[in-house]
């Protein structure tokens, strides 16, 4: 059995869905009926509409990313790419060096025969 608290949250969410225009048909009519019942319910729906309008208006704003952030991201990628290349060169050299050492010491299976 749902608790009173849980029922109140559900009611709050239902009015929110109505204010967001996400309810249709019988569900929408049920919330409209509840709104006609009490002033509290009407004000609740108005508060939701006000909040959603604020969120939407804030959503229209397009803040610029700070230059420092953009430069940091690019600099980091350059450093990372340089390190990757250096790592690849070092690995190549190490493999070559190891190959030469193996050859010098005559450790290759075919050379030992």
């Amino acid at each position: 059995m749902p608790s009173v608290e849980s029922e109140r949250w559900e009611f709050l969410e239902r009015v929110g869905a109505y204010a967001a225009g996400e309810l249709e048909g019988a569900e929408a009519r049920e919330v409209e009926r509840l709104m006609l019942e009490t002033e509290d319910n009407r004000r609740l729906a108005e508060s939701y509409a006000q909040m959603l309008a604020l969120l939407s208006a804030l959503g229209q704003e397009t803040p610029e990313a700070p230059d420092a952030m953009v430069n940091y991201a690019i600099r980091r990628a350059y450093v990372s790419a340089t390190l990757r290349r250096a790592d690849s060169i070092m690995r190549g050299l190490a493999i070559d060096y190891l190959g030469a050492l193996v050859h010098y010491l005559g450790l290759r299976p075919s050379e030992r025969r």
């Binding site: 319910n41 690019i74 980091r76």
Partner: protein
Amino acid sequence: MSIPGGSAEDRNLIVRASRGDVEAFSRVVRDRSGFVYRVAQRIVGPDKAQDASQEVWVRVWQRIQDFRGESAFSTWLYKITVNACLDARRKDQRREARELPEEPPYLPEAPTSDNDPESSALNRERREEIFESLEYVREDHRAALVLRHMEGLSYEEIAEVMDVPTGTAKGWVSRGRASMLVALFEKGKKGKGTPGGDAEAGGRP
């Protein structure tokens, strides 16, 4: 690799960046830094948006070679941005248990002469109030709420970005809306006091 959406030049840049071309990656960063910063600001708040955005670009550079173009690049970028922001928020939890208030959560009237909600959004105090109230919404609910009501994504798109079923995305947006209204109401009641805690953690089953 074929990338849905965007111009041919965009797609070419992303393919080059995914092959390790730093010049191309730099262009991607410059073109989309505003987008990443905007989403980060809405999910983690203005104070932490820069750090979160930097973390996003570090992850994008590390993972772009694995981007196969199965979804639009913008969806992939949304996903990385939302995940980085959620990780940042989880590190910095300030939520406490709080129950649903006894009285219905009405908003205090917007401090503008014409009481037009959209113009009140431009008011600095109102903007701060919104961001502060968002702080008290559980992180995944907040991200879903931001994607729906500030970024204008559909529930299907939110589900894809957040990697959850569409029903879960709907539930998160719905709970986020209710929690934010409660948080705004409590802020309005208390005035500009110390933030009190999560609007839903204690009250929502």
